[in-house]
Symmetry: C2
Subunit: 177 residues, 2 copies
């Protein structure tokens, strides 16, 4: 009936997903030595990608080869992007409408990307899993993966891997009462 | 000549070491099921404990059995605690003086505890290792383990354990150029 959402992301040990200016070279340069850390295997289980506006524009800026989503449904949360401008994506104006559309369409496994989108989806109670690769660095500032919450979110440890280059990758399931 | 400092601490997955009011029940309640996660084995390698003022007062408030430091040197960073009030501790008025005193005395393996003290010691370039047990919970706010930095801190992954109760414990060494 309703979808499962799994975050798949890299952070610094101090919890940042990008510097204030969006730079992720500190992450990607370290990641180059360790392959995809299971990303494409994960993506194979995903039918729908949802992106925040900034993340969508970042992916576009990286060019065609950064569009790794293939023929999966890609839906973007934005109040400003014109509808229909990019035939590959569906634009939603607010999170509730996006969630309702995904549920109605029968989306099964959703991969949300983008810090603010992930935080909003988590606060809406619709994140089911965090697969986090922690990079061996402290960057001291930037955009955080996690934000404010109205209540504690209990997690269940699923697995931990050390894929190389100093990364530690862990899967945490959100444990609902 | 100079000491090595190893942080040994627990955090939530979102990087907090305590709630805003100092509460750590979310950590200790989860930790009860998994023993000491190597804490006393670690403490056996430590000759000097350094505490921030808040952490010192928190330990005092927990009573005698919380004073786990035995006959180790315990030094407290505080501008307000009177010198000599507690015969078990040496009080230092600023971090530089504390570091100089530890170096001069020949402290070998220092265990710093307390969020602000750890952040200051890290910014001073005098933290060598972080052993972090991540608890399976997001608490959304409180006191962070990590703070602002003037430059990236490169880390080297040493080991990762899953001691139980959903914790993931990793040792990261600070990688100096």
């Amino acid at each position: 009936m309703t979808f499962t959402a799994s975050v798949f992301i890299g952070t610094s040990l101090d919890g940042y997903i990008a510097r204030d200016d969006g730079d992720i070279e500190w992450l990607t340069a370290r990641g180059e030595d360790v392959g995809d850390m299971g990303f494409f295997e994960f993506l194979d289980t995903v039918d729908t990608v949802i992106l925040g506006r900034t993340t969508y524009e970042t992916v576009l800026a990286f060019g065609e080869e950064a569009w790794v989503y293939g023929d999966r449904r890609v839906e973007v949360l934005s109040t400003t992007i014109p509808e229909g401008a990019d035939p590959r994506v569906t634009v939603h104006r607010d999170l509730d409408a996006m969630i309702a559309a995904l549920d109605e369409r029968g989306a099964k496994h959703v991969y949300p990307d983008g810090g603010r989108l992930i935080q909003s989806l988590l606060r809406a109670g619709r994140v089911d899993r965090f697969i986090i690769a922690t990079a061996p660095v402290l960057i001291g500032g930037g955009h955080r993966l996690f934000g404010d919450l109205t209540a504690d979110v209990r997690l269940r440890h699923e697995w931990t891997k050390t894929p190389g280059a100093g990364f530690v990758q862990t899967s945490w399931a959100v444990d609902r009462p």
